[in-house]
């Protein structure tokens, strides 16, 4: 699908239940590369049930494009279930490890920021702190933005994983 109407594009989180094999993962990635869909992040890991795996994909596109993506994912023989969590109440989490420099502001200031984001300090060296943060992508983005002026030496993010909330009512304990 080549119509990139930027204005209506929004972020979608898809969770895909598949038979656990690399051919299936390649097929799914091939849909994105071969048909020109956007791919922001993808995670792939075994599912509790033997021989199954769950793939979480975050992508950008307008409603029509994401509908096409969903249909193409469904067409992969080893895909059991595709859920677009975008319009559902869902639990979405990402984990990031950020090594931030303490040279400019000192440790206490960085640790205060970490505290505000409920991030854990997991490594301390002379001039750096390594922080571990989990949360939805917005929260991780926000912490990274706050830390950026202090100097981020290195960083690794997992990409989102997500599940639908059992309770779809108004209350949302994030």
């Amino acid at each position: 699908m080549s119509n990139h109407s930027v204005s209506n594009d929004s972020r979608h989180t898809l969770t895909v239940l598949v038979k656990h094999n690399l051919n299936t993962l390649s097929r799914i990635l091939g849909i994105f590369s071969g048909k020109g869909f956007e791919l922001e992040s993808v995670t792939f890991a075994s599912e509790a049930e033997q021989g199954m795996a769950r793939i979480t994909i975050t992508t950008y596109g307008d409603e029509t494009t994401v509908e096409q993506i969903t249909k193409h994912l469904h067409n992969v023989v080893d895909v059991l279930k595709v859920t677009d969590l975008t319009h559902k109440k869902c639990i979405e989490r990402e984990l990031a490890i950020v090594k931030v420099s303490t040279a400019k502001a000192g440790r206490p200031e960085i640790m205060l920021i970490a505290q505000a984001f409920k991030a854990k300090v997991i490594d301390i060296t002379d001039d750096k702190l390594a922080l571990e943060v989990t949360g939805n992508t917005d929260k991780v983005d926000a912490m990274i933005a706050v830390l950026k002026p202090y100097g981020i030496a290195e960083m690794s993010r997992t990409g989102s994983i997500a599940l639908k909330r059992e309770f779809q009512g108004a209350v949302n304990i994030n």
Binding site: M1, V18, K19, N23, S26, R27, G30, G34, T64, E67, Q68, K71, H72, H74, N75, V77, D78, V79, L80
Partner: protein, 591 residues
């Protein structure tokens, strides 16, 4: 070294006892190669298009004295996939191919992509280097599963011989159910040599693969209502109407409702062109009437079609006045190129009768008046002359000689479009052409596959001097198996469609599109293989050549039909134009 006489001995059921009785009682396990052949036989496969090589030697050793299925020895693996494709299109049964590892596999790629684009059920078996050396760049190793991933519906690398039988059964199930397509199974050599289990268990159940066939009833009711109240309805039928074997349902429905029907290139034969409701083909080289009708209609019923760019022309000028209903078994076909008001995911063979039950014939008398005016004012032009053969005239004559009852197989280019326009298709599965991928070289081997599948039918391969030369090596196969295919070679000494575009859009700079005198002598070419070669340069000669050719029933005939070299194919919707901006002549095009 023992010889099995000729490569075609499989054809003449040899005297050797069959595999099962050669000291291999049922209880003893079979090796992978034997399981493969046993499973294919059990699945009802009667024909296998193959070419031997190192990695598949165990299978060929099994085929040496097992004649439960007919192995057809093609001369190039690409031709094997096209032949299997032709077999599948003519019968609806999956075509089966066997190739060796590495180059054997990569040679099948074009044929697999062709089948994928046109949704043709194929099961392709490739040999692979032994499991232990996969990934080591072994001799004749290629990652064929990786290579074919985007052009197969599913593919497998077999890593456990005990799973082989099940994988084969699953592959056939996937290839033929839902929207059909090609499936590839890669067989490492050690899997073929190792003994394994054969259960004979026929049941296949894939929880993740359950195509939706029934169609949503409320949507069906809405479709019926839209059609009942339409003033200018139109049915646009594609290859899905053939693949879904819905031609009878479609014909009955369109006739009762008196709704005009246009078919795509792939849909030719889904609705008889002898019926008054038929408007012929639409699209880039469609009829004037079909293209005007789709532009002007108010309710459009798309049946197993996919709004391909060759059909729609410029999208913002495509059928803007219509409310659209789209029936397709593949949800991803719906809403892909054109937004549709009423999608119905399901099997056309089930959905059409369901709509038929609820709909009443709309009042279309004014609509028909308009259509008849278009038909009267813009018929398809068939130029004729006594001293030279016009390509349109050539197709017309073939249509008459065969009474419109032949299986017509084509290559790709001008001749393909003329064949689509001027042959009168009245039967389904009688038009075999590479539509989506547009694969030159497809026609001749596909014709062989169709002829082997339907020995009682006349098979005419309308091809060009360009496409035919891509796989002309298959003349050897055609002669070896006595396949009486009639090759009507539309010889204009150039790549006609390329030349036409260069003339119309590149100031006639005919870059590398004209063969001129560099073409071979096709009559001698046929003769050197042991086929019959004939030539015609005038309509009178052509008539005689055609009638003589039709009498030959035991070998292939190649008719070198010299046509007017500069003729162009019209009507034509220039690239980037809307359907109602089609042109009907060189003069109009140069304006």
């Amino acid at each position: 070294m023992t010889s099995n006489h000729s490569t075609s001995s499989a054809n003449t059921k040899a005297q050797q006892p069959s595999l099962i009785t050669v000291g291999k009682p049922q209880s003893q396990p079979h090796n992978g190669a034997e399981i493969l052949i046993k499973t294919l036989t059990d699945l009802g496969v009667d024909t296998l298009f193959g070419y031997p090589g190192g990695a598949v030697l165990p299978v060929y050793d099994t085929l040496f004295d097992n004649h439960d299925l007919n192995h057809v020895m093609i001369r190039h693996e690409q031709a094997g996939t096209h032949a299997a494709d032709g077999y599948a299109r003519a019968t609806g049964k999956p075509g089966v191919v066997l190739a060796t590892s590495g180059p054997g596999g990569t040679n099948t790629v074009t044929g697999i992509a062709t089948a994928m684009m046109d949704s043709i059920p194929l099961v392709v078996f490739t040999g692979q280097v032994p499991t232990g050396v996969i990934g080591n760049d072994a001799f004749q190793e290629a990652d064929i599963v990786g290579i074919t991933r985007p052009i197969t519906k599913q593919n497998y690398l077999v890593r456990d011989v005990d799973e082989l039988e099940h994988v084969i059964r699953e592959a056939f199930h996937i290839a033929t159910n839902g929207r059909p397509g090609p499936v590839l199974i890669d067989l490492p050599k050690d899997m073929l040599n190792t003994k394994g289990r054969f259960s004979g268990m026929k049941k296949v159940d894939i929880p993740s693969f359950k195509p939706h066939t029934a169609g949503h009833q409320p949507q069906i009711a809405k479709a019926a209502e839209m059609l009942t109240h339409a003033k200018k309805p139109l049915i646009y039928a594609g290859g899905g109407a053939i693949l879904g074997e819905a031609w009878e349902e479609l014909t009955r429905f369109a006739e009762r409702m008196n709704i005009p029907v246009t078919t795509t290139l792939m849909g030719l034969g889904a609705f008889p062109e002898s019926k008054p409701q038929s408007l012929g083909m639409l699209g880039m080289h469609g009829t004037w009437t079909a293209n005007m009708a789709i532009t002007e209609c108010d309710v459009l019923l798309a049946v197993g079609a996919r709004f391909d760019d060759r059909v729609t022309g410029r999208l913002d000028g495509f059928s803007q006045k219509s409310r659209k209903i789209h029936i397709d078994i593949d949800p991803s076909s719906i809403g892909k190129n054109v937004a549709v008001e009423l999608p119905i995911v399901g099997d056309v063979k089930r959905v059409i009768p369901a709509i038929d039950k609820l709909a009443s014939p709309p009042d279309t008398s004014e609509w028909w008046d308009t259509i008849h005016t278009w038909q009267r004012e813009h018929p398809l032009n068939v130029p004729k002359a006594d001293d030279r053969i016009y390509p349109q005239h050539m197709v017309k004559m073939i249509s008459e000689v065969t009474g419109g009852n032949a299986i017509v197989v084509t290559d790709v280019g001008q001749h393909q479009m003329w064949a689509a326009q001027h042959y009168r298709f009245n039967h389904p599965r009688s038009w075999i052409s590479s539509g989506g991928l547009g694969t030159m070289g497809f026609g001749f081997p596909a014709a062989l596959g169709a002829a082997l599948a339907c020995p009682d039918r006349e098979v005419v391969c309308i091809t060009g001097d360009g496409g035919f030369q891509m796989l002309s090596c298959e003349l050897a196969t055609a002669v070896e198996y006595n396949i009486p295919v009639k090759i009507a070679l539309m010889n204009n000494n150039c790549l006609g469609m390329v030349r036409q575009w260069q003339q119309l859009f590149y100031e006639n700079r005919t870059s590398y599109s004209v063969f001129g005198s560099n073409n071979p002598d096709f009559v001698k070419m046929a003769e050197c293989y042991g086929a019959v070669g004939m030539r015609a340069t005038t309509p009178a000669e052509m008539k005689q050549v055609l009638s003589e050719a039709m009498k030959i029933k035991n070998k292939p005939v190649l008719m070198d039909l010299r046509v007017v070299e500069t003729e162009n194919c019209y009507p034509m919707v220039p690239a980037g134009a809307a359907l109602d901006e089609m042109v009907e002549s060189d003069e109009e095009c140069s304006k």
